[in-house]
Amino acid sequence: MSYIPNTDADRAAMLQAIGVKNIDELFRDVPEALRYPELKLPPPVSEMEVLRELREISEYNVDLEHAPCFLGAGAYRHFVPSVVGHVIGRSEFYTAYTPYQPEISQGTLQSIFEYQSMICALTGMDVANASHYDGATALAEAVLMAVSVSRGKRRKVVLSAGVHPEYRAVVHTYTQGMALTIVGEGADPLATEVLADMIDADTACVIVQNPNFLGYLEDPAALRALADVAHSKGALFVVSTDPISLGLFSSPADYGADIVCGEGQALGGGLNFGGPYLGFFACKQQYVHKMAGRIVGQTVDRHGQRGFVLTLSAREQHIRREKATSNICSNEALMALAAAVYLAAMGKTGLRKVAELCYHKAHYAAQRLSALPGYQLLSQKPFFKEFALRCPRPVDEINEYLLDEWGIIGGYDLGKDYAGLANTMLICVTEMNTKEEIDLLVEALAPDYFSRADEEGASDMEEAA
């Protein structure tokens, strides 16, 4: 099935109109010796068969509707209201493209304008763009923008070790041709204040994540002090953040951010095995001409009626080519729409309530787990929906036990990214985790069971031997 309406009769009439005998003649410019290679692909299947095949493939996964899950680390399970799927499932939205022709794209344009407004509401920034690919690429673009704001003169980036390790990796990938100096990643991820001493006159920006990768909230007063140091040296202060946390906690504008970006997947996007996600990006008014990406602005039509258009495009690749602020073209528009619908559905009180549920449940889990012998919290700092738990055994060992014996997907192994955090698990609890799930996790890790499982494991090995 190739979704082609042309019949043989249509094709014959069209070939005649073109003035060729057959379709092959249309490909005369293709080197003859290379024409029509065999493609070794599996034989095609019908819609009925493909549905069965894909369902079977999907069933090889353990899906999180059927397993309590305590994984976060940048991809979060949050409740997605039914309206989100219904709106983004409107094919007037999802089968359109970039709104190059505004008069027949007002649906996309107005919804992006509203999205930009809501991102500004959350972050406290003046302007937001229409999206980046994800939180990591949004952060990498923030670095490029900060260097560009200094007209390329400042070549140093202070990057907190508390920023998601994969986001930091993407910053390195993006900037590998730019000869920048990136410092700060070797420091203690929980000691953000040490970054202040690294800021100098060559620093383009200082980047922190709040809540940081270990789940902890930075003290807004301490961040304000860091922002003041950055500003006193002429550097920008960049904050990567979890938008759900902004339902409850200080907006980055309150503590001096110039650029706020982050992963917007939590706003109405599913987990989807890591993509498509949503990079949101906002900044202060004075930097708007250096911002990457699509921006929608309000205007009027020739009758004076309000309407919306893509604007300030003199920043963009299709106009400025090699002098553009970024190469970004397609972004994650449909995920931005999902985020807008989510934020509108939650509204002022709903988003706060989601954040509170996460906070209370995560703290309940932390309090119960850290009461178990051998387990303790890494830090007493306040946290949001994730926390780092010191464990008596290697994290992968515990996770294997949790999955095999209890059907629980455990937390993230921080030892993979931080040398000092071996045997430390990053546990995420959201509004989706019930008290029963949390209690089950506690029960599973209680010495009664965990040590007994250990003994059984040992006896199995003896039998095998």
């Binding site: 099935m1 190739s2 979704y3 109109a17 073109i18 060729v20 249309l26 005369r28 080197p31 692909l41 493909v50 549905l51 894909l54 493939i57 999907s58 090889y60 991809a75 709106v87 007037e92 359109a96 493209y97 022709q101 505004p102 008069e103 027949i104 649906g107 407004s117 809501m118 509401a121 003046d126 690919y133 939180g135 990796a169 041709g177 409850l248 309150d254 095995f273 890591g274 993509g275 498509p276 699509r294 602005g297 009626q305 258009v309 604007t311 690749q317 400025r320 080519r321 090699e322 397609s330 528009a333 449909l334 807008a340 559905a345 939650m346 509204g347 309090q367 306040p382 997907i409 509004e431």
Partner: protein, 492 residues
């Protein structure tokens, strides 16, 4: 037609969703960390739904009509693709789950890597890039890493034909290279003389779109590859126009070293109003070690059969992640736009080899048919057999005051989405038309009839074009005002 803003239908106290009560003991909140105000709208679910449904109705989309946006391949998006991408076994999987709990996802990604390798002829594919431009940045960084790995530090220039997408030079700058523009010749090919003059040991590579943005297959593509390779450079392929050549020719066989695919164009995944797309990158043996990762690999495992006491060898594979040995690194968090990959996999499974070739053949047939109907009505700067798209000029000899923008806006009154306009830059007043294979002859004829009538109107009643559109949800919008007095959100 004016739809109020979501903030204009907000009323204090309304909520659009109800949430469960807290089922655990509460913990005091750290007061000095809390925000004071959260200026989000407050709307009921019914108002929310009506707002967005009404907004959707102001959009033109592939599902509402013909969308011949050149270089964007706005083909029909099969509904089965949407169904499979929503399967709970895919949607509810976390990217950090242990690999043995996501073997289905890894299998699908592995298979898609293999399909794309087969279609393109490349040795290896990474699904990580999230869009075409993201794939371009990937490719240029790979070329850079290759030269650096050989200690060849003098290569600082990327050659880019003047017909290229704007993303090519923009990606080049991001990767730290200088852009050198190569002109096109009179037949719309890369000018070989100009190219030769620029080929030296400072050239990192050439970025070539083939078929190019004029919709023409470069008649010297193999010679271009030879010249670039001879001077030590590498050839990047912008795969935006792959829809013309699936099963017709493999880009790797033409001499490309690295290329991105646009799953949202060629492989029918929807464009989402501007994304999400996906821009996987394929590379030959030379560049494969530099691909971004991780990518999916498989290894054979021998399993004991449950049904038999004896050891039985069965073809069983375990799929897992691997970083290519000299990888440029990660291009995004996690692995790629997996949801988009599911749709592209499904499309390739349903078409098979013959179906993909048929798609390309009919895309090229449709474009040439439409061209045959419009040739002579609108100026055609490069009069050749086109591939999946073609470029006309909107500069009509008898209507000097009419511009391409007027023609485009007037097309809306006939119920069509305008083509890409004012691109490529080398054609004045360009109209870049890509019909795709999923349109019928009747649709193409209706579109040609409309453009022919508009050309008449341009002569007899140009005001009708200048004041167009007349039947769109809003009249022509003032883009200059939007840029001069930016209003970019509604809270300030």
């Amino acid at each position: 037609m004016r739809e109020p803003l979501i903030y204009e239908i907000s009323s204090p106290g309304r909520v659009g969703v109800n949430l469960p009560e807290c089922d655990v003991p509460v913990t005091p909140l750290p007061k000095e960390y809390l925000r004071e105000d959260l200026p989000l709208p407050e709307v009921s679910e019914v108002d929310l739904v009506r707002h967005y449904v009404r907004l959707s109705q102001l959009n033109y989309a592939v599902d509402t009509g013909f969308y011949p946006l050149g270089s964007c391949t706005m083909k029909y998006n099969p509904k089965v693709n949407e169904e499979v991408a929503k399967l709970p076994g895919f949607v509810h999987t976390h990217p950090y789950q242990p690999p043995d709990t996501v073997q289905g996802n890894l299998f699908l990604m592995y298979q898609l890597q293999e399909f794309l390798k087969e279609i393109s002829g490349f040795a290896s594919v990474s699904l990580q890039p999230a869009a075409g431009a993201h794939g371009e940045l990937t490719g240029v960084l790979m070329i850079r890493a290759y030269h650096e790995s050989r200690g060849d530090h003098k290569r600082t220039r990327m050659l880019i034909p003047d017909s290229a997408h704007g993303t090519n030079p923009a990606s080049t700058t991001m990767a730290g290279y200088e852009t050198v523009k190569i002109p096109s010749d009179a037949r719309g090919n890369v000018d070989l003389e100009e190219l030769r003059a620029h080929c030296d040991d400072t050239v990192a590579g050439l970025m070539l779109t083939n078929p190019n943005t004029l919709g023409l297959f470069d008649e010297h593509v193999q010679e271009i590859a030879r010249l670039i390779h001879e001077c030590g450079g590498l050839l990047y392929g912008d795969g935006a126009n792959l829809n013309a050549i699936m099963g017709i020719v493999k880009p790797a066989a033409l001499g490309f070293d690295v290329m991105h695919f646009n799953l949202h164009k060629t492989f029918s995944t929807p464009h989402g109003g501007g994304g999400p797309g996906a821009g996987p990158v394929g590379a030959n043996e030379v560049l494969a070690p530099f691909l971004p990762g991780p990518i999916v690999v498989k290894e054979r495992v021998e399993e004991e059969s449950d049904s038999d006491e004896e050891w039985e060898e069965e073809e069983m594979y375990y799929y897992h992640w691997q970083m290519p040995p000299s990888s440029i690194g990660r291009l995004k968090a996690f692995y790629g736009n997996f949801g988009v990959c599911i749709k592209a996999y499904t499309y390739i499974r349903m078409l098979g080899a013959a179906g993909l070739r048929e798609a390309s053949e009919n895309a090229v047939l449709n474009a040439n048919y439409l061209l045959s109907r419009l040739k002579g009505v609108y100026p055609l700067p490069y009069d050749r057999t086109c591939m999946h798209e073609f470029v006309l000029s909107g500069r009509l000899p008898d209507a000097p005051d009419v511009h391409t923008i007027d023609i485009a806006k007037r097309l809306m009154d006939f119920g069509f989405h305008p083509p890409t306009i004012y691109f490529p830059l080398i054609v004045p007043e360009a109209l870049m038309i890509e019909p795709t294979e999923t349109e019928s002859k009747e649709t193409l004829d209706a579109f040609a009839d409309a453009l022919i009538q508009i050309a008449q109107e341009a002569k007899t009643n140009p005001e009708l074009l200048h004041s167009a559109p007349h039947l769109a949800p809003v009249a022509r919008l003032d883009e200059v005002l939007a840029a001069r007095q930016p209003v970019l959100q509604c809270l300030k």
